[in-house]
Amino acid sequence: MNKLAYENIDETIYTNQLKNGLTVFLLPKPEMSKTYGVFSTNYGSIDQTFVPINGREEITVPEGVAHFLEHKMFEKEDRDVFADFSKQGASPNAYTSFTKTAYLFAATNYIEKNVETLLNFVQDPYFSEESVEKEKGIIAQEIEMYNDQPDWQSFTGTLRSMFHNHPVKVDIAGTVDSINSITKDDLYTCYNTFYHPENMTLFIAGNFDAESMMNLIQSNQDSKDFAKLDAIKREFPEEPKGVAMKENKIVMPVSIAKCTVGIKESSGELSEQEFLEKDLLQSMIIDFYFSKSGPFYKKLYEEKLIDSSFSFETNLEKNFGYSFIGSNTDNPDQFAGRVQELLKSTYDATFTTEEVDRMKKKKIGQLLRAMNSLEFIANKYIHYHTMGIDLFKLIPSIQSLTVDQFNSFVQDWIQDDRIAVCKIVNE
């Protein structure tokens, strides 16, 4: 067990890679009442095409399998895992993202028991034809619920306009049609390939003793057998740099139109260093322009093109990345035009030392604030770890960024063919 002490933020992490390949991180925080545990696989909705474990040929599974699998993990032959956790005073949950599937619990009592339950239920799948059929009704309801939400439509609509082939353009839950074609065998194939300990990470943060926790995890894992896993071969289609459609118009009943401008930030594999720099700069620079102190926000606000629903977000993963700038607006065309015009004005932008300083301070403060949350720490630590980056060393990385790095990033940021627009209108 290795001990990583981070003195500047007063945290200590204990880590270990077990014999079966599982990576474990423990963050004891005795001042908290809660413990949060997350057991995460490096497998999400975009991992649709791959060579299965013990297979030779590449296969493509139906859209929405990762999410379907997540739902089915909670049901066992004789019981429902929710009840197991409930009996131990814990609230379990799970989520599927583009790149991860994670199972988690929060509890204030019976921590060791809950950790064992977490490990055991994820490592003991039970899928039957019957239960797979039953689940289709529940997931179809979930998909229909999202279909009624304009914000979700706007999010997925923007992704579809940006990406030609990359599976990030497909809804995480799939479609009602695609989930109807999912079989028990699809679930087992994906499970056996991607839920191997070698492809998984366990992060526990909160009120417990690190040493006895690590012993418990180790003996739990030693008692189980796993086949040897070679590196998983995943295949992603060739993705052009430019966007798929300049504009995507979706018609649905809304009281106010919505418009999103999407920037296709990345479409290919990034190295560790490239990722770190882009991840930090991309988020700080979009914030600089579009947060409430930002010059672009100010213009949009004064020109009455946005309201309080205005928001922006940015996301970077190993082989894709995007930023969104969106709002409810009475005039989606004007909003889209103006945002693009503003974005293009960054070709020759330069930042002052004060501006860079303020951006760094803000980012550092945001990180510290986010670290109030065990959930944030656990999930983000895993996210960055997958990229070879240590979340707890981000503050020094931010501090070391130079004005030149900001300037060369911003001048290169916007290209005409990497911008797409998605409108949700009522006609």
Binding site: Q141, S291, R358
Partner: protein
């Protein structure tokens, strides 16, 4: 685990609550202004949080405030209004990185407090009024917020349920206010009303974080000055209308794919009552958790809904059931939900389920206290209810609830209104 100690002092018209805790890497300061709910002031109070963020005496525009916040290591200022029972609460929050974790910084907290004081007591004004252009603009913002509710079907259905259910009670007042009031609001009358708020509302300030209490208390004392304090008359006790013999059923149609089936009940039990803890346990068993009757029976056993849950309003004594269903499953879902309530009244739950539910509630309480805003809201419940119930008392109270207590409280609950928002074309629609 930290034990929560809340140090409360009253002076200069402010109730100051200092809560030291090592859990957080930030310091949170929350000011709460409380007044009785009233149709006459609700829209003004809904508009104020938007206006107050637009400028202060020394930071005259929104971007000036924000630049200051950014340079204070991305401090976050947020405001909002909400209903708690028959009170309206304006909350003004500031959260700032604790300088302890940042080298060479020692004045962040002081500056953040000074800024918050400005935002509350010295909003930007010209000749005793807010700025016309800001008022115009923020009225638009609020108007759009009111219009957008219909796009969030769950909130919309909940609002309509309360409209129907609390037709002649204060609680039905919409937290976003009313469009017809907006035209009557002027920069002058809103500013004058805000002066009344500052004079008459009950003001509680909470400070939470890893700090030395005495130092922080002194800083607050020297920063916040409230000139006058005539606390407004307390809320009027309302007599709750007689229940109808038959629950009111309201069905509305819209162009949607998933129907929302919501139920409103009267609990006849509120935060300060002795059986409040039994009500919490009741709700946990009925629909508060994924292990609850509603979730298990509506979603898991019958695959009728993606979500089915219940929640209660502590200060007004209401209980709500929410579910999202396929439009043609209405009758079936309604029957199953009603059966779950009957089961609760008949005590159809095991001792084991009782124990598990109590654990879950205690777990939830403890978790709430690991969150800055959660902790402050939990402590503030006492102010709203006018009772003294520190967190440990809440936990002990839950532990002592018996099966009989739950059955008793269940039998006090009465169904008032069923609201269904469904697809056009009614139940034949697929």
């Amino acid at each position: 685990m930290d034990t929560t100690v809340e140090d409360v002092t009253h002076e200069n018209g402010v109730n100051l609550h200092v809560v030291p805790s090592k859990k957080f890497k930030t310091v949170t300061i929350t000011a709460k202004l409380k007044a009785p709910l009233s149709r006459d002031t609700i829209t003004k109070r809904a508009l104020l949080p938007y206006v107050l963020q637009q400028g202060t005496k020394s930071f005259p525009s929104r971007s000036d405030i924000q630049l200051k916040l950014d340079s204070l290591y991305g401090a976050v200022l947020s405001m909002g209004g909400g209903k708690k029972g028959n009170n309206h609460i304006l909350s003004i929050r500031m959260e700032v990185a604790n300088q302890k974790f940042i080298s060479n910084e020692s004045a962040i907290l002081e500056e953040a407090m000074a800024l918050l004081n400005e935002v509350i007591f010295h909003p930007y004004s010209e000749n005793g009024a807010f700025k016309q252009s800001i008022i115009d603009r923020e009225k638009d913002t609020l108007r759009q917020k009111m219009s957008a509710i219909i796009d969030d079907k769950m909130s919309y259905a909940n609002m309509k349920l309360i409209d129907e259910m609390c037709d002649d009670e204060l609680y039905k007042l919409h937290v976003h206010g009313y469009k017809e009031d907006l035209d009557l609001i002027t920069p002058e009358n809103l500013f004058a009303y805000y002066q009344t708020v500052l004079r008459e509302d009950q003001l509680d300030i909470y400070v939470l974080g890893d700090f030395d209490s005495a130092t922080v208390k002194e800083k607050i004392r020297s920063t916040f000055h409230r000139n006058e304090n005539r606390v407004a008359p307390n809320e009027k006790k309302e007599t709750i209308k007689e229940l109808k013999k038959q629950p009111n059923v309201v069905i509305e149609e819209q162009d949607i794919q998933q129907a929302k089936l919501h139920f409103g009940y009267r609990t006849h039990s509120t935060y300060q009552d002795d059986d409040y803890f039994a009500l919490q346990v009741f709700n946990g068993l009925f629909g508060g958790f994924p292990s609850s009757k509603l979730f298990i029976n509506v979603r898991e056993k019958n695959s009728l809904a993606y979500y089915a849950a219940s929640r209660f309003e502590s200060h007004k004594g209401l209980l709500f059931v929410f579910s999202g269903i396929a439009p043609n499953d209405y009758e079936k879902a309604r029957e199953i939900i009603e059966l779950q309530m009957d089961a609760m009244k008949n005590g159809d739950f095991s001792a084991e389920e009782m124990d598990n539910t109590k654990e879950l509630i205690i777990n939830q309480l403890l978790e709430t206290m690991d969150n800055t805003q959660g902790m402050i809201e939990l402590l503030y419940q006492q102010v709203v209810a006018g009772t003294e119930r520190p967190p440990q008392t809440l936990i002990d109270g839950i532990k002592q609830v018996t099966t009989e207590n739950v059955i008793e409280v269940a039998n006090k609950i009465e169904l008032d209104t069923i609201y269904l928002l469904t697809g056009k074309g009614g139940e034949s629609d697929e």
